[in-house]
């Protein structure tokens, strides 16, 4: 309880830190919304024109005033207006978010569906040949940058099977589930690859740890069959580090996967932030980063809550 309470208390503090950091950083980047919009043509502007544009973009006031105004807005649920989109930042983010969420969920499903059984299997085959195979595969998975995975995946699929990802206009899941899945499955596998590798490794080592724990020995001394020892006694305990890892990874995935979105031409959050940075759309960058950090922290809190349901030791306080 007090642990969760402390997490809740630091939440706004961390959010405040994130907001200050992003606010200052994005303004330290050379160039502004004017050059971003006009490029070299900005050189044709008279100073009166420049001032008019600065006022339009809201970058004419001192930075503290800008920050204060923005912060007041944030407290009222208003993340500002994006100058490139001409729309409230929040509505732009919410347009992009379903894709990112879906991608993150799908990658996590891929990772857990592959990684967890593989890790458990390897743990029960400790030091045998099949264990070694799984470990090597997981190691390679963890060692390959996801853009390389995406690259090689597309190359291998097209060269070997003549299959290509659907790279047209993105279709939301509700509009056309089949087409949507056709577009999303390869990106999800690409992101899920390294994720699955991590899950495999951590579930294997957690399982190994747990299998040598006293209570597993106790279960065996009661005559509990092997499968039941693994699934009923060991797994719930081994899940805790897997949940941590998956939570952190999932939290990061909710921030968008810039490289993979780029490779598969998906309009996700990652690309949104990148574009916003490039176009010096300050409000959008700030809004996105704040939103991403918020999600990350919320996911971490949810992970903590999940612990609590998984592990009564945390629920009741250690030594209760």
């Amino acid at each position: 309880m007090s642990y969760l309470a402390r997490r809740l208390l630091t939440f706004p503090l961390v959010m405040l830190g994130v907001s200050i950091l992003v606010f200052v950083a994005i303004r330290m980047v050379p160039g502004d919304a004017i050059t971003a919009m006009l490029g070299t043509e900005a050189g044709l502007l008279t100073s009166a024109q420049r001032a008019a544009l600065a006022a339009y973009f809201g970058i004419d006031q001192p930075i503290l005033v800008q920050y204060w105004k923005w912060l007041l807005g944030v407290f009222q649920g208003d993340l500002g207006i994006s100058v490139t989109h001409g729309k409230p930042v929040l509505s732009i983010i919410l347009e992009r978010f379903p894709l990112t969420l879906q991608l993150a969920l799908m990658s996590m499903c891929v990772a857990l569906a592959v990684g967890l059984p593989a890790g458990i299997f390897a743990a029960t085959r400790n030091e045998k040949l099949s264990d070694l195979g799984v470990r090597i595969f997981a190691m390679i998975g963890q060692s390959t940058p996801n853009f390389v995975v995406g690259l090689l995946l597309i190359y291998a699929l097209s060269a070997g099977f003549g299959v290509l990802p659907t790279m047209g206009e993105f279709t939301p899941f509700l509009t056309d589930p089949l087409r949507n899945l056709g577009q999303m499955i390869l990106p999800a596998v690409t992101l899920g690859f390294a994720f699955a590798a991590s899950v495999t490794r951590i579930s294997r080592s957690a399982m190994l740890d747990v299998l040598s724990d006293d209570y597993v020995r106790t279960a065996r001394s009661k005559g509990v069959p092997k499968m039941s020892v693994i699934w009923r006694h060991a797994l719930p305990n081994a899940l805790i580090p897997v949940v941590t890892l998956s939570g952190v990874e999932f939290g990061y995935l909710l921030g968008g996967a810039v490289l993979v979105e780029q490779i598969y031409a998906l309009p996700g959050l990652g690309r949104l932030v990148l574009e916003a940075i490039l176009q010096r759309d300050y409000a959008l960058v700030q809004g996105c980063v704040l939103f991403i950090a918020f999600n990350f922290l919320v996911v971490n809190l949810l992970v903590d809550l999940l612990y609590v349901t998984l592990d009564p030791r945390i629920r009741l306080g250690e030594g209760g």
Partner: protein, 279 residues
Amino acid sequence: MSMLRAIFSHPSGRIGGTIVVIYVVVAMLGMFGITPHNPLQQYRIDRLHAPSMVYWMGTDLFGRDVASRLMKGVGQSFLVGVSAVALASIAGTVLGLTAAWFGKAWDGIVMRVMDVLLAFPAILLALLIIAVAGPGTWTSVAAIAIVYMPIFTRVVRGPALSIKSREFVDAARTFGSSRRYILTHHLLLNLVAPLTVQVTLALAWSLLTEAGLSFLGLGTQPPSSSLGLMLADSRNLMETAPWLLIFPAITIMISILGFNLLGDALRDILDPKTRSRTA
């Protein structure tokens, strides 16, 4: 010496160690310019030449020798990786150690700042830092270091807290040992093992990040070569000159694999928990 023997008698340590040794040798050769060709020399007559006896891994769009550029690139990645990890580990260790030792407000401030950094997706944070400072080798060093620093801070703070409550630290306090002595001799010395493991893994990670940043055009600048940049340059030439993709891709994979394997082996060797499992 006994450490080396331990690494090379550990199965993944043997493979990882070998890869890392080869990697370091190649990096050194690349760094000091001992390559089959000058990596910057443009043999424009031999543009996009397939791998041959002269050009082991072919040539690129400018007729530069891919093998030489690869070696130079490995050297570059290594330089960035090592510098970034050195920075991150030193800063992270100091912060983690002092946070654990002094606790209270200082701990709160340090850990909240780290929380802020961690709440930023790594690649976005690096991107912002680079956008501010302009792309380049040393900017990517700084960006990778700042992104990785919170991890070191956490890796140090956790064990430091537990060592702080170990009996030998209590003992030191009963003698009235100075804070500096306790921090350096008792805490830091006992953090060497987890730090070694983390440094190895961080190296793998920073190679990965360096490749990603260069791939985005934010890391090493042309005409210098780095693995990520070579991959980025290969993107539109993959169909006509696949060697431009394949060699750097494999190099990245294998080198990161090497450091990861070594890190795993070190963890097995240095972590008493896994060691005692066989006892």
